[in-house]
């Protein structure tokens, strides 16, 4: 039984289709849910939490149907919304302990786990002060703590690094990775920042305009391709011409050349040798030589979409 599965999940609002026939199966791990703003990430999370009814299709979370067993699902999952959601006049301790009880924990357990979880997210003495005086980074930690306090099986994080400075961002990502790896809690991280997702996720679900672009292990998104990226210090059209004449396929984009490895029928190294020789002949300085991998961004490039959606 997969942790989460959807089948032809569709959500239509008047005039807008937020989710369009989405079918995925997700197992434990840190799952990156990537897509541009408005791609349907938040809608998907809300349907999985049982907060929003789908128009069509099915969803299952922990073998429960969120549409009819929402209360049961929500007892076992945690949710960190994208927006600010903290009151200003209570302390983190008081607030998180209260929400732990609202998740169904008895009061003793709620207090104990609140102390534990605030320590895990890195809030110490300041947890007794009113939240109104916290920095954005501390507030994000409180938001994470409230989602984690009742020991959920699945954690939904909606843009968890929103508004954080680079250091705060690193710490938050580190925490998310720890939650998935050390705490053994499945994490679904929705983000429009591919670079961040790349750092923490083990599995990736890419959606665009409510449709599934691809779902696969992260490694397959960034696997090697047969291309060499060559950057020179001046326009490289002459280099492209020389490579073409040697039988390689290559194209230039300003000072960058992308050439296909082994495209003249020889070995992978033939291209490297050719580039070296022609650069000397033309008196070009090479700035960069890179064996190119698929980038997550490719998913969202025009034209990159169709070739990958099978």
């Amino acid at each position: 039984m997969p942790l989460i599965s959807t089948r032809a999940l569709t959500k239509r609002y008047p005039g807008v289709t937020a989710l369009d026939g989405l079918s995925v199966e997700l197992e434990a791990g840190v799952i990156g849910l990537v897509g541009a703003n408005g791609a349907g990430k938040s809608t998907l999370i809300k349907i999985l939490l049982g907060l929003l009814p789908q128009t069509e299709g099915e969803a299952r979370v922990l073998d429960l149907d969120p549409a009819t067993q929402g209360s049961g699902v929500r007892e076992l999952v945690g949710y960190m919304p994208e927006h600010d959601c903290l009151p200003s006049d209570v302390s983190a301790t008081e607030f998180v302990a209260h929400l732990a009880r609202v998740s169904g924990l008895p009061s003793g357990a709620a207090r104990e786990r609140t102390a534990d979880v605030l320590r895990h997210v890195g809030l110490y003495e300041e947890r007794y002060r009113p939240i109104g005086g916290y920095s954005t980074g501390m507030k994000q930690r409180v938001k994470l703590a409230q989602a984690l306090v009742h020991d959920p099986r699945v954690l939904f994080l909606d843009e968890p690094t929103n508004g954080l400075d680079p250091a705060g961002r690193d710490e938050m990502l580190e925490l998310i990775e720890r939650i998935g790896r050390e705490f053994g809690i499945a994490v679904i991280v929705a983000s429009h920042l591919l670079g961040e997702i790349e750092r923490v996720a083990t599995w990736l679900v890419a959606i665009d305009a409510g449709r599934l672009l691809r779902t696969a292990p992260l490694t397959s998104f960034t696997e090697r391709t047969g291309h060499l990226l060559i950057e020179t210090d001046e326009p490289a059209d002459s280099l492209v011409a020389r490579l073409l004449s040697r039988g390689f396929s290559a194209r230039a984009d300003g000072r960058t050349v992308v050439a296909e490895l082994a495209s003249n029928g020889g070995t992978e190294f033939a291209l490297y040798d050719a580039v070296r020789d022609e650069a000397i002949n033309l008196g070009l300085a090479l700035v960069r030589l890179e064996h190119r991998r698929h980038q997550l961004e490719d998913l969202f490039r025009v034209g990159g979409t169709d070739e990958r959606v099978a």
């Binding site: 907060l51 209360s71 945690g78 919304p81 959601c85 998740s103 008895p106 009742h150 050390e182």
Partner: protein, 294 residues
């Protein structure tokens, strides 16, 4: 004893502990919101300043009953300071003040700071949340609308020379006492929360609650003074008068000072008006909370 003592003050990271204990689900969640709501209403766990109004109102509401019981004990039943029927009308002014000051505590900040999605992503539903808040405020209001009259009742029975006979005399009033207290508490709580759920800040919410009760009372008073046929409807502008009329309709006992006595409406009118008040309040709450985005 060769082992070295453990170094003092070392913190061991014992890692994340999972929870295998009981999960109380929706019931536990509702109980937690009711409990927290009651604490908030009486300013428990908050600064001393936020305790002034609720505890002040509670003391003021209890004071007449305490005095009446003391008088009973000292001079016997020669003087009857308060009847059960007119007690609530007597402390009436305290009720809107209590609701105006404390109902916003329960709902406004959750809405304003967008905390509601954190509640709704837990085992409860939106209506569970509203119901829990309503129960919390109603229970708190019972401290003003039921506790003093019960105190009066107990005092009268205990101060009597013949306990059994006194209990026999007074027991018949008990359903009316409890019924009136619950009626006032529930209707006022529903109205208070409905008004507050529409306000963006606590101060506006408090002002709006006071406005509804004061304007109703003042306009009703003006109507009554003017006469000319309008006076019959004057009590229907004042929520407290409506509640007093409904109380009289259900349990009897007229209050001389109440506009209900001066007006000549059938008492059932107040029953219908009370029902409309509570239905309208619940409808406002249901619609308001259905529209909250998660």
């Amino acid at each position: 004893m060769s082992a070295l003592p453990e170094p003092a003050g070392t913190i061991y990271d014992i890692g994340f502990r999972h929870y295998d204990g009981p999960r109380l689900g929706r019931r536990g969640a509702i109980a937690a919101i009711v409990g927290a709501g009651l604490r908030a209403t009486f300013g428990l766990g908050r600064s001393g300043r936020s305790k002034i109004i609720p505890w002040g109102a509670l003391v003021l509401a209890l004071l007449p009953a305490i005095v009446a019981v003391a008088v009973r004990v000292l001079v016997g039943d020669l003087i009857d300071l308060y009847s059960y029927a007119n007690y609530l009308w007597g402390i009436g002014a305290l009720l809107p003040i209590f609701v105006a000051a404390q109902a916003p505590e329960l709902v406004v900040n959750d809405m304003r700071h967008r905390v509601l999605p954190l509640y709704f992503s837990r085992p409860i539903s939106r209506l569970d949340y509203v119901a829990a808040k309503l129960v919390a405020l109603s229970l708190a209001l019972l401290g003003l609308t039921l506790a003093p009259v019960l105190l009066l009742f107990t005092g009268r029975v205990l101060a009597a020379e013949d306990l059994g006979a006194a209990l026999g005399d007074e027991i018949g009033a008990l359903p009316g006492i409890v019924g009136s207290g619950v009626l006032h508490a529930v209707v006022l709580a529903a109205m208070g929360l409905a008004i507050c759920s529409l306000a963006a800040r606590r101060a506006y919410a408090a002002g709006a609650v006071l406005a509804v009760f004061l304007i109703g009372g003042v306009m009703g008073g003006t109507f009554q003074a003017q006469g000319r046929g309008l006076q019959a409807f004057a009590p229907l502008l004042n929520p407290l008068a409506i509640l007093d009329g409904a109380r009289e309709w259900l349990f009897g006992g007229s209050v001389a000072e109440s506009p209900v006595a001066a007006a000549d409406l059938p008492l059932a009118t107040y029953g219908v008006a009370s029902a409309l008040l509570i239905c309208a309040s619940l409808a406002v709450l249901a619609l308001r909370y259905r529209r909250v985005a998660t």
